[in-house]
């Protein structure tokens, strides 16, 4: 059926002035997707490699963490890919985590004043980036010896 192009339609995204609440919203979705795919598959690989014994765990470490001194070019490339992916997953985790807490609080009906919406949205990014930096530094210094 042909649509009347002049029909009244509800305003879409481009009508509104962009604000931090919109950024936090789309980041929640994007980070959720990253966690659901890359995050969970890596976690399952890690769990399966533990259950598989010493050798399979060494295989996981060689591909994901570090292949040591005798690393092939492919392994070195894979290591850097997975390190960057790991950083993205850690950030996604904290972003989704704090953003999720914000959602749960707003579901209770709290924080709908414009200034509060703005403050909470910015706070989510600050908390996520801070937690990511802390965990990344902790992992790098304690477990990877960097």
């Amino acid at each position: 059926m042909a649509q009347n192009p002049n029909r009244p339609i509800s305003p879409h995204l481009q009508i509104y002035r962009w604000g931090p609440h919109m950024t936090v919203s789309i980041f929640h979705r994007a980070t959720g997707f990253v966690l659901a795919t890359a995050g969970m598959l890596t976690l399952l690989w890690w769990i399966a490699s533990i259950a598989g014994g010493q050798e399979s765990y060494a295989g996981f470490q060689a591909w994901v963490v570090s292949a040591g001194a005798e690393a092939t070019g492919l392994q070195t490339a894979a290591n850097w890919f997975f390190r960057l992916l790991g950083l993205a997953v850690i950030y996604s985790f904290f972003q989704h985590f704090f953003s999720g807490i914000r959602h749960l609080l707003m579901d209770m009906g709290a924080g709908y004043e414009l200034t509060t919406v703005r403050t909470w949205s910015i706070a989510v990014f600050i908390a996520a980036l801070t937690a990511t930096a802390l965990v990344a530094m902790l992992v790098a210094s304690r477990f990877m010896g960097i």
Binding site: I50, G52, Q54, Y57, Q61, V65, F97, G100, L104
Partner: protein, 129 residues
């Protein structure tokens, strides 16, 4: 399809007193994830190192294997609900939508079953050398 009866006309089109179930389940699993992933992160950071013997002994304990299994259930249920909304928002063609939602169901159930089996196998049979 279903032109005859009142039930036939409304079946599959939405709420029959369970309209909020999806929304509530997503929040329920969100709270589960909040607790269980917090446990996982703190638990991992408290390990002395990530050598195989350390993590294998850690994962074999009931106090680790049980929350790990619960976490996998809670997370993959949450993934199921969250990605369903994502797919419904972005995949408009009915056939493609059906196909992608089917893949999503296969992914979450398959991945969760795999993860739970691995944790259980490890906890029940102990760490292989």
């Amino acid at each position: 399809m279903g032109n005859g009866t009142n039930l036939g006309r409304v079946r599959g089109l939405g709420s029959a007193k369970h309209g909020t179930k999806h929304w509530v389940d997503q929040r329920l699993t969100a709270v589960g994830n909040l607790l269980l992933t917090s446990w996982l992160v703190l638990s991992l950071l408290m390990l002395p190192n990530f050598a195989h013997e350390t993590v294998a002994a850690w994962l074999a304990q009931p106090s680790v294997a049980v929350p790990m299994v619960l976490m996998l259930v809670s997370i993959f249920w949450h993934v199921r609900l969250g990605l369903q909304v994502l797919i419904e928002d972005y995949v408009h063609d009915d056939g493609n939508k059906f196909a992608v939602l089917t893949l999503l169901n296969f992914y979450v159930i398959g991945a969760a079953a795999f993860g739970i089996f691995m944790v259980a196998k490890h906890a029940f049979t102990g760490a292989p050398a």
